[in-house]
């Protein structure tokens, strides 16, 4: 099968690959680039385990082709921490017991980061609406909501001190 060249920036690093035009973006990340933090849970863009950021927008990478991402700037869960320092959302998910099996967690954190980027002080209803494209089977969402609230507070106070 013919291949097509794809060049993307992933978590600040330029990456490229020759791929079949039908290759899903999530498989480019996981299999070509070894970034296995982005998961596949449903194939129909219902569960959101594959959520990443493409040019700053939340995107479900299981329903996007790798070739569609050519030239874009991508951020995945592996790009959230700054070395040993966790992103406030990662820290908050840990502090608030916002995960159990951990499978939905990367997508949930990426979606939450995008949500807080759009709205730095969301109400509980806005948080629940904002993560409604991401399914968690373990937590009942209670502690995920608390984690997002904690991170929102921390990100706001960090902004205030800038």
């Amino acid at each position: 099968m013919t291949t097509q060249h794809v060049r993307v920036t992933v978590n600040g690093t330029e990456r490229e690959a020759d791929v079949e035009p039908r290759l899903l973006l999530v498989h480019l990340l996981r299999e070509n680039f070894g970034l296995t933090g982005t998961h596949v849970g449903c194939d129909t863009s219902n569960c959101g385990a594959c959520t990443i950021h493409v040019n700053g927008m939340s995107a479900k990478s299981c329903t996007m082709l790798a070739v569609q991402a050519d030239g874009t700037d991508i951020r995945t869960i592996e790009g959230m921490a700054d070395g040993a320092t966790l992103h406030p959302l990662q820290q908050a998910f840990w502090d608030q017991h916002g995960l159990q099996c951990g499978f939905c967690t990367p997508g949930m954190i990426m979606q939450s980061a995008w949500l807080l980027n759009q709205n730095d002080n969301p109400t509980e209803d806005e948080i629940r609406e904002g993560i409604s494209g991401n399914l968690c089977r373990c937590t009942g969402y209670v502690n995920i909501v608390k984690a997002i609230q904690q991170a929102a507070g921390e990100l706001r106070s960090a902004d205030a001190t800038k």
């Binding site: 849970g41 449903c42 129909t44 569960c47 869960i77 959230m80 840990w94 159990q100 967690t105 629940r128």
Partner: protein, 789 residues
């Protein structure tokens, strides 16, 4: 009974009762966990599966010619290939047999028909699309009642001429004559048909494996999503003939289990066969539709219940007859003696003088399974039936459902309590839990509000569920799976520097065992929880255990962990006496050290003792500080709780809105309050889901109507109620740390609270029962029929 757990250890030690943050989380929040799909082995191939679109059909031919022409496709495996090695059938955990691949007939939609092995996943998928299978469709039975009809065709002729019907087994418990007599004499007698539909666990990670055959070493390594890796190893040894020491099962991180990762699916066996055939690692990962259409289901119980009482509402008898739809084979992962699981816990929290329950298992053209949905072996079905019946009785005689429950509860002084169906409940205090839930939700005020609203024509309901769980399978005299007793295990090794490695026979798929089992050891030995590493899920290193399901980890392996730690403490005491030059009996223990009675300054820490175990032992003592325990529980444990749900029903749409939901749980002593609350949040959500959203239905041709997440509706954060939790603590008297288990209580207890609330809102209109899921369509149809909508 208390409501709070006072920790005995300091926060630095972090024993029981501390909300220790989870040790497993750093890898998950960074996206560096290791789930099965994350593993790539050198030279690894991909397997994908051809599945039948028909629910029942004869396979006339399978032609792989075109598939094998596709670049990258290496092999196509069919039932005929397996038959040559006698591997086309395999035994199920329930003593039935199941096709790995069919040779003549497919029995349910999406059943495996052939496996394609290729160099990558896309080529494998291309291969699947190019395998041509010629089917001759056959008649289909999806209704178990029709399967039992005299003129029904026989789904499983392989069982022989003496079993020329679709009846699998009959199982009963209790005293039929006594129950009949009680019902006949009852001043009040109620009867109801209750159907609990088929549902699917749908963990966000699907199932999969990598089979890695090393022909030179004769070693099969199976990386897989399993809740019971040791059982898988033994089954694989029995089925394949490979020597068990040369089979290694490794589970890694598991993205949710809930029972769906207990069974042995054909895909696992096919990957093993493929790897044996091609001599390379072979990976198989199911997609969501395969997962929803072919993997183990739960429920599908058609229950007929009858109950009698005095006219004041004192319960006198219960009789239950159930048809259990098992699909085309009985592959329910129940303990051997319990084909209907622990369904005979159906007398619940109530003091029934007489009860009888019978269940008949039936074949249909649906996938097999039965207990995979966080259900504690059919306890969910039992709790739903009894809690619905008690509520119907209360409404029927005009008594408040809370009051009726209070008057019929088994009383605290009756424990240990023998039920008429043979269980011995260990401990309970049901009235206090219900009262606490009533206080938290403001029950009396809600009833007043309901009267006011009803006068205005608004539909508001209040539902109660006061459930009793039964977990911790189980005592070896009664509990085994394929003959293996349901003990569980822990092995503890204390290193010279006072750091600990412990290995457990149970698996974790989100429960947080790396944290909670470390806390049990911290509690028993005083090592800081951060110094204790917990390992599991590698059958080469972990002690044998039956795995994690049916809320058995803490009741069984948790007990093994405490008992192994106590063996270590006994040896540590001997070493301490040697170091302090005193008699063992002169020492007293506090978490983390032994000191001489009356001279607290003369002491040795557990870390000093650990070092001495390798450097300065009493004469004649064996070196090291290690222990193993295989724990055979003396009884099951019986967590309980009372839940109250308030619903408002939209008269124009039939939509049920849960306004409030209070859950008071009692799981005995608590290891980690934060994790217990998390388990309850998740359990409640998996109780809510089948109450209002989820079900798998089939059309008359056996087509699965819920094969994607577009059709099978998992709750999102928007629909999920905002749970309000409360606790009481009634320790288990027979468990070493007084714990009972908590993983499934909420899933077991929640559905009838919601169903009771909806029926409570509609009882005055003449509604006695609504089967779950109570979807807007279903509720609207009822309102329409009653002239409301």
């Amino acid at each position: 009974m208390t409501t709070e757990m006072e920790p005995r250890t300091s926060a630095a030690i972090g024993g029981m009762g501390h909300s220790v943050k989870r040790k497993e989380d750093p890898r998950f929040i960074r996206g560096v966990g290791t789930y099965i799909e994350d593993i790539t082995l050198p030279g690894m191939l991909w397997m994908d599966i051809v599945r039948t679109p028909y629910a029942h059909a004869t396979i006339k031919s399978i032609d792989a010619t075109e598939a094998l022409k596709i670049p990258g496709v290496l092999a196509v495996i069919t039932g005929a290939d397996l038959e040559k090695a006698g591997l086309h059938w395999m035994p199920t955990l329930a003593g039935d047999k199941q096709m790995v691949l069919p040779t003549t007939t497919v029995m349910y939609q999406a059943q495996e028909v052939a496996a394609v092995v290729a160099t990558d996943r896309y080529a494998a998928a291309d291969g699947v699309a190019a395998v041509f299978v010629d089917y001759e469709p056959l008649p289909v039975i999806v209704d178990p009642h029709k399967a039992l009809a005299k003129d029904a065709f026989v789904l499983r002729p392989d069982r022989g001429p003496d079993k020329a019907n679709n009846h699998i087994w009959h199982w009963e418990s209790g005293d039929r004559a006594a129950a009949d007599a009680a019902l006949a004499a009852g001043e009040v007698r109620i009867a109801e048909d209750i159907y609990i539909p088929r549902i699917h666990v749908a963990s966000i990670e699907t199932c999969g494996c990598i089979a890695d055959w090393d022909a030179v070493r004769g070693q099969m390594t199976l990386h897989m999503t399993s809740q019971a890796p040791h059982a898988i190893r033994t089954v694989l040894a029995l089925v394949s003939g490979l020597p068990e020491q040369n089979i290694r099962v490794i589970t890694h991180d598991i993205g949710g289990g809930f029972g769906g990762k207990v069974p042995v699916y054909p895909g696992y066996v096919l990957a093993v066969v493929a790897s044996l055939t091609v001599g390379k690692p072979v990976k198989w990962i199911e997609d969501r539709s395969e997962n929803l259409q072919a993997d183990s289901f739960a429920r599908d119980y058609h229950i007929h219940a009858e109950m009698s009482a005095t006219k004041e509402g004192k319960i006198t008898g219960l009789k239950v007859k159930t048809i259990a739809d098992h699909g085309y084979t009985d592959a329910a992962a129940d303990p051997s003696k319990y084909p209907a699981g622990l369904f005979n816990v159906i007398t619940g929290s109530y003091d029934f003088p007489n009860a009888f329950v019978e269940v008949d298992g039936v074949y249909t053209n649906k996938p097999p399974g039965g207990v995979a949905y966080r259900c504690s072996f059919r306890v969910t079905e039992a709790v739903h039936a009894i809690e619905r019946m008690v509520d119907i009785l209360a409404h029927e005689i005009g008594k408040d459902p809370a009051q009726l429950r209070m008057e019929n509860f088994i009383q605290p002084e009756q424990f240990p309590y023998k039920t008429p169906t043979g269980w011995e409940y260990d401990s309970g205090n049901y009235g206090v839990a219900l009262q606490k839930a009533m206080d938290m939700i403001g029950y009396a005020d809600l009833r007043k509000e309901q009267i006011e609203k009803r006068a205005r024509g608004e539909l508001m309901g209040i539902g109660i569920s006061s459930f009793t769980e039964i977990v911790g399978a189980g005592p070896s005299k009664d509990f085994d799976i394929i003959g293996i007793k349901m003990f569980d295990s822990c092995e503890i090794r204390v290193h010279p520097t006072g750091k600990v490695l412990a290995r457990i026979g149970v698996q974790t798929q989100g429960q947080g065992h790396e944290t909670t089992f470390a806390q049990i050891i911290a509690e028993e030995l005083g090592f800081p929880v951060g110094d204790v590493k917990i390992e599991y899920g590698d059958t080469d290193t972990a002690p044998y255990g039956l795995g994690t399901y049916a809320s058995r980890s803490t009741p069984v392996a948790g007990a093994a962990t405490a008992m192994a730690a106590r063996k270590i403490r006994e040896k540590a005491q001997k070493i301490a006496a040697h170091l302090l030059e005193c008699a063992e009996e002169d020492l007293e223990w506090e978490p983390g050290k032994f000191s001489v009675k009356g001279s607290p300054d003369r002491s040795k820490t557990i870390q000093e003792i650990s070092f001495a175990a390798y450097t300065n032992l009493p004469a004649g003592m064996e070196a090291g500080l290690e222990a193993v325990n295989y724990y055979d529980p003396p009884n099951l444990t019986f967590p309980f709780g009372s839940y109250i749900c308030v619903v408002d029903i939209d008269k124009t749409t039939g939509q049920v809105k849960i306004r409030r939901f209070v859950a008071v749980d009692d799981c005995g002593n608590i290891i980690n309050p934060m994790i217990v609350d998390g388990q309850i949040h998740g359990g409640l959500t998996m109780g809510f889901a089948p109450s209002l959203l989820e079900s798998i239905t089939y059309d008359e041709l056996g087509n699965n109507q819920a094969g994607t997440f577009m059709d099978y509706l998992l709750p999102t954060a928007v629909e999920t109620p905002r749970w309000e939790l409360g606790k009481t603590i009634t320790p288990s008297p027979h468990h070493p740390i007084g714990a009972k288990g908590v993983g499934e209580s909420a899933t077991v207890g929640a559905p009838p609270a919601i169903a009771n609330a909806v029926v409570d809102a509609l009882w005055h209109l003449g509604v006695r029962n609504i089967d779950i899921p109570m979807t807007p369509q279903k509720v609207w149809a009822i309102l329409h029929e009653k002239g409301i909508a």
